[in-house]
Structures are given as C-alpha cells and as structure tokens.
Amino acid sequence: MTHIELQEELSNLYVSNAGRLAEGTGKVINALRPKAFEDFKRLGIPTRKDENYKYTDLMNYLQGDYSYEIAPSKFSVKLEDLFRCDIPNLNTHLILVLNGFYYEHETVEPLPKGVIVSSLAEASIKYPELVNRHYAQYANTADDSLAALNTLFAQDGIFIYVPKNVTIDKPIQIVNLGFSMKNLRITRRNLIVVEAGSKASMLVCDHTLCDKSFITNSLTEIYVGESACFEMVRMQNENSRSSQIANISVYQEAESTFTSNTLALHGGLIRNNIFAKLAGERALNNTYGIFYADDHQHIGIFTYIHHAKPHCRSDQLFKGILDGEATGAFNGKILVDKYAVKTLAYQRNSNIMLSNKAKMNSKPQLEIYNDDVKCSHGATDGQLDAEGLFYLRSRGIGYKEARQLMMYAFANEVMNKITLEPLRERMNEMIDKRLRGQLAHCENCNIHHS
C-alpha cells in the first residue's frame, strides 16, 4: 500500500461515516471537520521525504487490516475488574478510557469545586463555550496532517478543566486501554485547561489489554494559564504490534510552568510529538523523557519549543536505551522569536546503545532570531560505561545485575525530574521492571506480547 492509498482509505472511512461520527459530539467539534478534511487531503500521510518524519517511516506501521469503532464497544465484564493497575499504592483520581472512549465508572472521590473531569464528547455538549474557547486552538491542523486527521475523526477522550486558583493535590490518572477482538484504529482527543494560578498534575498510562494490534492517533491540547502549574507524567506500555502517534500541543501564558515526563517503555511504534508555545513572559517549560526500545521497536521523539515572549526558559532532556534491532529518533527544535529576548533554552539527548544492530538518529535544531539569548543543545550516543560495570562486578555484582544498575542509573537523571515523589517512586519501579524484561508481557490478561 502506498501512502496515497492509505490517505484514500482513511478519507473514504470518514466520508462513509461522517454522519455517525458527528452524532455524540457537540457543534464545536463537528464544525471543524470540513476544514480538517481539507487539510488532511492537502497534507496527506507524512513520508520519509517529510523532514519531520525522515527517521520514522509511518507507512510501515499505519497500514493493514483494521476496524474502526464509531461507537464504544460493549463488554459484559466491567473494565475496572479486568484492568488492574500495575502501579500499586498509587493514590490518584482514576479515569479509564477504552479504545479512545471515556469509560463511565464509579469515581472514587469528589474533586475540588468547579473542577471538571469528564468525557470530551459530553463536555462539548454540556460546556460548549468553554470547549470552544480552547478546542483546536493550540494544535496546528493546517500544517500537521496527523493533527488534522485527529480533528477529522475526533469523538471522545478526556476533558479536564481546573478553574482559577485551585490546587488539586492528588494526580489525575488517566488509563488509556486498548481492548478488542479485532485490530483497531483509535482516535483519541483530549483537552486540558488549567486556568490562572491553579496547580494540577496528571499521570497518563497507555496499555493494551490483549495481543491485537492498535493504531492510535492521539492529540492532547493543554492550556496553562498565567502563573499556573501543570505537571504531566506519561507511561507508554503497549504491545509490540501496536503503534501510537501521540501529539501534545501546549500553550503557556506568562509565568506558567509546564513539565512533562514521558516514559516510553514498550510498543511497536511510539511517536511522540511535543509542541509548546511560550506565549507569555517568564514561562517555564520542562520537557523530559526516557525511552527503552528493543526487538524491532521504533521510538521517535519530536519536540518543537517556541519561545514567543521574553524571559522564558525551556529545558529539554531525553534519554534513550536501545537494544536488539530497535531504532530511535530524536528531532528537537527550539525556535526563538525576534522579540523573545533573554531566552534560556536548553536541550540534551543522550542514548545508550546496547547492541550494534540498534540505531539512533538524533537531530537537534536551533532557530534563533535575536542575539540576547542563552541556548545550548547536545546529543551523545555511547555504550554503558565499561569502567563502571567492572567496578560493580569487582564487588560481586553479577554482569546482568551490574548492567541493570547502570541502565537504571542512566535513566535516573530523567526520573529525578518527576517532582511528585510517590509518582517518581512508582515510575522508578516500572523502569526497573522494564529494564529487567518484565514488562514485555501484559500481566493484566496474561497474554504475551510478541
């Protein structure tokens, strides 16, 4: 199949389902479909000729025999019984999303007054003005075909609204589950609005509950108001047959802080695109991530941090461990506008190659239009430190365990950036498990991923 054929297949899928797609969603969402359709038709599926996809060959992953669900599938079992979170003792507000659809279940505790955590479809009908103010405002559907495709098919996902000056102590945990009898394409759309002076955090976990193949196109738009603070930790753990393209578009007002930490632990293809616009003075953006890829997995990270106002600061750190015949790509861009003086922008990518068949492409890019800035970028690839390994072994620590410790230590720099301590501890356990090869199968339904 060529990328043009795939584009046609997806276009036809839309045309023949356009009516049903619009059924459960509000005008806000539906009104944007025609424009998104035009954009998608014009932009097409990205190929390797596209600079941003030079090292991520999407066509390898996006084609095949897949079903599409216009309405959420019904299961006789309760999802919350089927799914057991791998992260014990984590005290969160838990939300489940099944195949892209918000899954109604009993919520444990009430949230602070005025906070909304709901299905996006529902919110688009219940709070049209609120959704309208932010929906599709931060993602660039005119230039990004996958964002256009998402907007074209968008039905559901999560809507979070935190009104002014509210602090939510416990993280909101969103668990995205893939569970189906057939291979499935999933579209997931999230909108998060954190108003001025508020503070919230979120943990997002992606899981596949069976060995079917899922292709997920997810798009999350995040608005962080003036002096607001939003922290997001993502853990991606899907089976090797599954692919996900996860777009995040962040818009930051003055003096806001946005921190994201992405743990790409397992999956056939994981493509993480992170766009952030620092649209107010003295905004702070921290974009971090760690990934581990083995077998034939591919992990691609694309970041685009746009400094539009003076005195902002951005800090990027991505670390990768590649084994087997895994491939990885890091494409990190920093754009500093003409008037964005006193910008501080840092970026670093370092990778460890455990096998000589693994491959990593790293491309840092700076585009700076004024000379009153401090920017740095760097990329390194290497092996595990042989001296360190020998040191550990000389104390009686076996080769495997010594390697494990060294890899864990390598990841530690990124993990330490997670400010919520219980979350950091739990995530460390997940990293440890993954490095020990214990995450390659799904404990929830006992089906081995391969």
Binding site: F390, L392, R393, S394, R395, G396, I397, L405, F410
Partner: protein, 251 residues
Amino acid sequence: MLIIKNLHVSINGKEILKGIDLKVNAGEIHAIMGPNGSGKSTLASILAGREEFEVTEGSVEYMGEDLLELSPEDRARKGIFLGFQYPVEIPGVSMVNFMKTALNEKRKYHGLEPISASDFLKLMREKKEIVDFASSLTNRSVNEGFSGGEKKKNEIFQMAMLEPQLSILDETDSGLDIDALRIVAHGVNQLRSKENATIVITHYQRLLQYIVPDFVHVLYKGKIVRSSGKELALELEEKGYDWLKEEAESN
C-alpha cells in the same frame, strides 16, 4: 591462599608482566613496590579479573582454585577485593543500593538469604565508623562528587562491608593527605586478621609506616627483582629505586 607462578600478562600484544612468582598466606601483609610503569597495577587488575588483559603464560591459584577461570564477580564472591587506584563514579546508583546489592549477591552465591533491612543498616553504621565515613556520603551516588580522600575511604568502607579474604589495595595512598592516610591505614589494620591477607601496592614507603608489611617485593619491568622483609621499604625510601634498577639491568 594465593599462589602465582610464572605469570606473563600482555595487553594489546605488549608484555607487561614477564614471569611473576608470588605466594601469599593467610594472615600476611605483602607490599608490592616499584617505579611507575613496572606493572604493579597490571598485577592488581589481573587478580581482580579485568578482561582487557591477556594471560599468556603461568597460573594463579586462589584457595586451591584456578583464579583465572573465574569471572570478576565470582572472584569477589569468593573473597577477593580490589581497592581501586581510581574509584569509579557511578551517578544514579546510590551507595546504599550498591552495597546492599553487592552484599546480597555474595550471600546468594553462598546460599544465604538476603540480609534484612535492619541488619543491613546496623552493618552500615558499624563499618562506617571504621573509616570515619560520613553518613551523608552513603546517601549519595557511588563516588559522585566525592573528594579524592573520600573516594579512598569509600574503598576501605566497601572492603569492611564485604569482609574479603584477600584484599589488594592498588595505590590506595595516592592523593591522600596525612590525616586521610592515617584513617585509611587504621581501617585496613582493624580489618586485619589471621584468616585474611592483604596485598598493598604502593609507590612510596609512606603508607607502610602505618600498614606494616610482613614482606616487601619490588617489581621492575614486569618482574619481581627483590623480596625481603619490611626493612626493604625503608631502604628504598632512603636510596630510591635506581640501585635496584641497575642491579636488575646488570642481571
């Protein structure tokens, strides 16, 4: 305990050790001295199992076993300890995790249960005192940001934790001021027993004022050119290595 016979060692085709013979019994302290580049550190490395070196001839027997057949970790589990000349910094691995893992790997090897958390803490506390090792250091990553003296103290602290039968201290005195040297030496002396042995590798006689050896060997150009009692160290301090070099060359 340790019997080295006619040991020849090369790295990248270059012969460094050219026939070493050495016998170390339990309860003994041996000092190996010699000018720079004589092969002292190579000897330490080969005993600890560094893989870049190649043994071309000879044998090393440890407690009746062929030492050269064992992996570095198995050597450590069987009681060999190398005090590094340049201890390695490992950011991200905490001292506590490092020591607990090392201890438990050794215990597992000997068929023992992992040490309990309270016993481990007790052991840490006890052993830290031997080398006056600050508690703040055990909460940090392995050697990360440690001063030269702290790194060397850390080596002796690890030695105390692991209770080896045969310790090889490679230039443990280098880069130490006199106070740190005393503390390190005091630690080594406290750990001394009839059951274990120590090989002290040093360039200077200084350390041997505090750790008194039973035997002193001089290594020069890959060979032991002289073995004697502790008085040899004093003689070297006074006269330097030149007279031994000349003697060796004329042979």
